[in-house]
C-alpha cells in the first residue's frame, strides 16, 4: 500500500494532478487492483463527508449568551456613535445635526424610490419628497401600498397551499415586528438617519414579499 501513487490518490480525486500525472496514474490504476480499490474507498470517504448532518448542542446555550450580551447592551455600532457624539464641539454638533436631518429625509426618500417607479397607478411620478423630521408622513404612501397588497393577498391566498400561507404569515409577522420596533424607536429619535433607512428598507421588504406572493397566487389562478 505504499507505492509511489498511493499518496497521489487524493490529489487525483480532487482534480489537482496535471495532465501528465493524471494519465500516468490512470495507467497505473489499470494494473494495480490495490490502488484501484483504495481509490474507491477514498471516494466514499469524500462522499460521506459531504453527507454529514449538523446536530444542535445537547443543552441550550442561549441563556449564557443572553447574559453576556445583556452586559454589552448593544452591538459596537451604537457604542461608537455614543462615544463620538460626546467628543464633538458645539459647532460640529450643529453641523452634524443639520446633516443628520437632511440625510434622514433624503435617505428615506431614496430608499423608497424603487417602490415609486414600480407602482405607477399609485405613485405615478408624483411621489412627494418626505418632509424632514415627519416620520409618519413619509411612510404614508408605502402604508397605503401595503394595505392594498394585503387586501389582495387576503383574496388570493386561498390559491396557495397551507404550508406556503403559514410561512408567508410567519415572515410577515417578523417583518411587522421589525417595522413596529423601528416606529417606536423613531418616536423617540425622529431624526435618526439609520432608523429612518432601516424602517424604509423593512417596509420595502414587506412590499416585495407581498408582491411576490400575490404574483405566485395569480400564476396559479
Amino acid at each position: 500500500m505504499n507505492d509511489q501513487w498511493t499518496t497521489r490518490l487524493s490529489e487525483y480525486i480532487d482534480g489537482e494532478l496535471d495532465r501528465t500525472e493524471q494519465a500516468a496514474l490512470e495507467a497505473h490504476l489499470a494494473t494495480c487492483g490495490q490502488c484501484y480499490a483504495t481509490l474507491g474507498e477514498l471516494r466514499q470517504v469524500v462522499a460521506r463527508a459531504k453527507s454529514l448532518s449538523d446536530t444542535p448542542p445537547a443543552t441550550d446555550l442561549w441563556m449564557e449568551i443572553a447574559r453576556e450580551i445583556r452586559r454589552e447592551k448593544a452591538p459596537a455600532r451604537r457604542d461608537r456613535l455614543v462615544r463620538r457624539r460626546f467628543s464633538l464641539t458645539v459647532g460640529q454638533l450643529l453641523a452634524a445635526s443639520i446633516a443628520l436631518v437632511l440625510l434622514s429625509g433624503g435617505g428615506a426618500w431614496l430608499a423608497l424610490q424603487p417602490l415609486a417607479s414600480s407602482e405607477p397607478t399609485r405613485f405615478g411620478g408624483s411621489t412627494p419628497r418626505p418632509r424632514v423630521g415627519q416620520v409618519v408622513t413619509w411612510t404614508g404612501h408605502t402604508d397605503a401600498a401595503i394595505a392594498d397588497l394585503q387586501t389582495a393577498l387576503t383574496q388570493n391566498e386561498k390559491r396557495l397551499d397551507t404550508a406556503t400561507v403559514r410561512i408567508v404569515r410567519e415572515n410577515l409577522a417578523i417583518i411587522d415586528r421589525a417595522i413596529a420596533d423601528a416606529r417606536v424607536a423613531l418616536q423617540k429619535d425622529p431624526g435618526n438617519a439609520y432608523l429612518n433607512l432601516h424602517l424604509a428598507n423593512t417596509m420595502r421588504r414587506k412590499v416585495e414579499l407581498l408582491r411576490r406572493v400575490n404574483d405566485m397566487a395569480a400564476a396559479r389562478s
Binding site: 469524500v46 448542542p57 452591538p75 459596537a76 397551499d161
Partner: protein, 183 residues
Amino acid sequence: MPRQVLEDTLTADSIAADSALAASGDATAFERLYRTHVARVHTLVRRMLDADEADDVTQDVFIRAWQKLATFRGESAFGTWLHRLAVNVVLARRKSVGIERGRFINDAEPLDGVTSKPVTLELSMDFEEALASLPEGARQVFVLHDVEGYRHEEIARMLGVVPGTSKSQLHHARMALRRHLER
C-alpha cells in the same frame, strides 16, 4: 415560483431582517439568528476541536457575532459571515491552547493515534467518532476541505502552513477514515 425556492427566499428575507434588527441592538432578533444557526456552528466547532470545548466555543462565537454585528454589511449571507467568524474563533482557540505551528507542520505521523488502535475498535466506531479521533491537524484540514468546502490555498492561509501540508494532511485523514465507512 417552486415552494422550496420561496421558502429559501423567505428564510433569507427573515434572516436579513433579523440581522439588521440585531445590529441595532434587538436581542430578540439575535436569539432568532442563534436558533437558526446554532446547530451548524456547534457542529463545526465540535468537529474542529474537542467535544468538551464545543459549548464554550459556540457561546464565544455568538457573543463575538453580537459584538461585531455592526461590521456585517450584508454583502454576504449572514450564515456565511457567521460561519467564517466561527472558523476564526476556532483557529484562535487552537493557537491559544498552545498548539504551536511547528508541531502541526512536523507531525510526521499524524495518524498514529488512529492506526495503533485495535482493528475491532476501529470498525466499531462510526464516522463521526473516527473523525474526532484523528490528530488535530489532519482533522481540521479534513473538516475544512471535505466537509466545509474550503480550498487548500485558503486552508493553508488560515492554518499558517503551505498548501502541500494541507494536501498531505487531507490524504492521511481520508486514508484513516476509509476504515470507518459504514458497511
